[in-house]
Symmetry: C2
Subunit: 470 residues, 2 copies
């Protein structure tokens, strides 16, 4: 069976302020209504004979993965939580071990979660070709036929043809300079290294064992000691931390003598920057890409994204990237967006948080969004998923007022347990032990008004928590 394995480890900030550490690129709806992660798992699930996708992601992103999978109605083949980032070779090893326990003949299709593919039919054909080669024990990589001389990607030089489906890999080459990239384009036998792979899980582990035994050993131990936690597989922290950090390219693909490459032209982009997004997005007659509520006079060549409930007006500007979020707005020259990193570094150095977290925060039980903060109050919109519950908790410094906007909340306050329905409200006095639970079938949405002299997130004493946080 073909098992899609989606690598969702990225924590990039190149699309700041939309991407943040707590919500990286793969979880954003950059084009259309679904996130790149959702598009990736859906695309994979439509492949003939595909099993439910396995996702490898950071611990911090587990609830987002779960929620985004559920939102597109897909069941999960497993969500493996990496306790630390160790690059792709160890992550793929974890997925291979996970699959082998279920299917000794498993074929793995490894897909980064944050890439765009416009031509799904071409992708499907390439996967079919790669499956043939993988069943002949090749480790297959996908080479994107370049349509311009990109200097930001590594390239793959094709070797001897392997039937109709692909080629042996002659060699992998590093990111070239402009002149070399142009020569590659001219040559026609150099393709972009896409980061997508297809092979038998057992073959990958054999080759890893041979060429990077320390990674293979650490992955085996970390996987053997993994614990199940709700829908997640929690990989052992200490064992995994002992793994060298390396990419599948360096650790395996460049070393094995069974590397194959399948070329594909499928409208691929890794959307590595705001200008890359502008390039692949549909644009209006003035070459503008506008998302959200934008009005524009005499403006050309811009990428403009307005945040919800906010409008952006442009006047006489060209070739800008303007990206608005509830707490921060970026205005950048489009040809300078690779330096968003410099801005993020500045924020880090200043001890800020706008690069780390969005205003909306995902929690195991749902999410909250801080709508407004004042000297003695904070207003949050809270969504509690069906069947979920917040911890039993107490605040030393604040009272909380809850107004239920939709759904029915079960509220514990002191000794009382009672229901609060739509349009009703309740009050949690300062110091009272309380809990919020959703026993219904639809999400509970409520507005929380906190009042008091100190309103920090750290004023919380958790007495009981179904998610092990107490």
């Amino acid at each position: 069976m073909l098992h899609p394995v989606v690598l969702s480890g990225g924590s990039g900030t190149r699309l700041w302020p939309l991407s943040r550490q707590n919500q990286p690129k793969q979880f954003l709806a950059l084009i259309g209504e679904r996130s790149l992660y959702q598009e990736t798992v859906l695309r994979a699930s439509r492949l003939p004979g595909a099993a439910a996708p396995v996702t490898v992601c950071a611990d911090d992103h587990r609830f987002m993965v779960g929620e985004q999978l559920a939102a597109v109605g897909l069941s999960s083949g497993g969500i493996l939580l990496e306790p630390a980032a160790r690059n792709t070779a160890p992550a793929i090893a974890l997925a291979a071990l996970h699959l082998l326990a279920r299917d000794p003949e498993a074929l793995m299709l490894v897909l980064p979660a944050d890439h765009l593919i416009e031509d799904e039919a071409a992708f499907r054909d390439a996967v079919a070709g790669a499956m043939t080669l993988a069943s002949e024990n090749f480790l297959v990589t996908f080479g994107i036929r370049p349509d311009y001389a990109e200097t930001g990607y590594g390239y793959i030089r094709r070797g001897t043809p392997l039937g109709d489906a692909g080629f042996e890999v002659e060699r992998f080459v590093e990111k070239p300079d402009r002149e070399t990239a142009e020569a590659y384009l001219e040559d026609g036998g150099y393709w972009w290294n896409s980061g997508m792979f297809l092979f038998r899980a057992a073959r990958y582990l054999e080759e890893l064992e041979r060429h990077a035994p320390a990674i293979a050993r650490a992955a085996r131990e970390a996987h053997a000691n993994a614990r199940s936690d709700l829908d997640f597989t929690r990989i052992d922290r200490d064992a995994f931390a002992a793994s060298p950090s390396d990419s599948i390219d360096y650790a395996v693909m460049e070393k094995t003598d069974r590397a194959a490459v399948v070329p594909v032209s499928c409208g691929w982009s890794d959307i590595g920057s705001w200008s890359a997004l502008w390039s692949v997005a549909e644009r209006d007659g003035d070459d503008n890409r506008h998302d959200g509520d934008v009005i524009s006079v005499d403006s050309r060549g811009n990428l403009v994204r307005a945040a919800e409930r906010r409008m952006i007006a442009t006047l006489g500007v060209e070739d800008l990237v303007i990206v608005d979020t509830p707490d921060a707005t970026l205005v950048a020259r489009k040809d300078r967006v690779q330096d968003v990193k410099t801005l993020v570094d500045r924020m880090k150095a200043d001890g800020r948080t706008e690069h780390l977290v969005h205003r909306k925060v995902y929690r195991p039980w749902g999410s909250y969004d801080s709508l407004a903060v004042g000297p003695r109050f904070q207003v949050k919109r809270i969504v509690v998923n069906p069947g979920a519950a917040l911890s039993l908790q107490r605040h030393a410094h604040r009272a909380e007022h809850w107004v239920v906007v939709s759904g029915v909340a079960e509220v514990t306050c002191g000794d009382r347990v009672y229901e609060v329905a739509e349009n009703e409200s309740t009050f949690i006095p300062r110091g009272s032990v309380h809990r919020l639970r959703n026993c219904g079938k639809t999400p509970v949405e409520l507005i929380e008004v906190q009042s008091g002299g100190y309103l920090g997130e750290d004023d919380i004493e958790r007495l009981e928590d179904v998610y092990g946080r107490s």
Copy 2:
């Protein structure tokens, strides 16, 4: 006595999105913490022998004027409410009539509310000179010595000297073309027409009677039929509407044979656009003016204003105006900001409201700010001034939940009247007659959560209102 008369009739949108119809330029804190109106009344109040200032403003702005005066601790010499905009000649006539009823010898210093003056000492000296000429029955205008060849202002050609203080006006000249403006600058005898005037109230009315009798007649009748309303003088609507609309320049100054001009170099600006504000504002080493939370990499020559609780990051951009507010952001090329009008016209044509009202709305009893809106809820922050009360009212479609954040609110709900103190909350069921009142000495600040299927401002039935709105 010298009576400052502040004309606050402007409703300009040239500084959109910060200026809106409900909060025009004069009420904004553009430089520093006080609004241009507040700076104007304070500057006037510091003139030797100055009486309390008279303000002429639009009816819609009355509570803002009252609040801004109170905030700087000034008493008012009167707030005259124009029921319609009729340009400066009728507005000044109203003020003259108002003053003559109190002081037959009143000297009026007419000041637009939205101008910046950096050198107060120079201004004061000019006023002293003008007082001398006004007491000799001249109608004095102030001429700003130009420091560059501006084509956007009218000019005044000086005539024969009148002692040390000033000159007769030889003639007023229209906005010149570039070449003419340069010739004026070179000549040295042409000054910018500032829109500030000083004369005896009685003299102004005499000249108005002579040169624009219809205006004088309408103003007299509108003033005679005025009604007092709280601290305001409500000018009669029908009589005032009958007045021709004309400027003091056209109606009087260009026609009288007693026009004098006092030259002054006082760092004057009418801040007629975002680029004008940038020009007069202090800037950093890269020629940027940043207000609020701004971080900037490789950016030069920009004016950037971040809204409260929001950050703006700029990267590699030059000569832009970026102005952020809670509901709209402008990004414009600095040399195109005169076309903000085009944007505003577009909004009008689209039936939008971002050019009319800010999210924060002033009411006779205080203010409210819509913090968040969702499918079935709206959250407002409401401030009720000491001694003020909202109308006795009822909503057909929504329930309201009030959490008091500071102060003590007196709540009427159905038959009950009760107090709600800090950290406490109360609930107004849908359809209940209710009222909110502040009987205390400090403002009541509360968070209102509205819930229900329809949340429009028009779902209100006013049963009783101390401000005459029921």
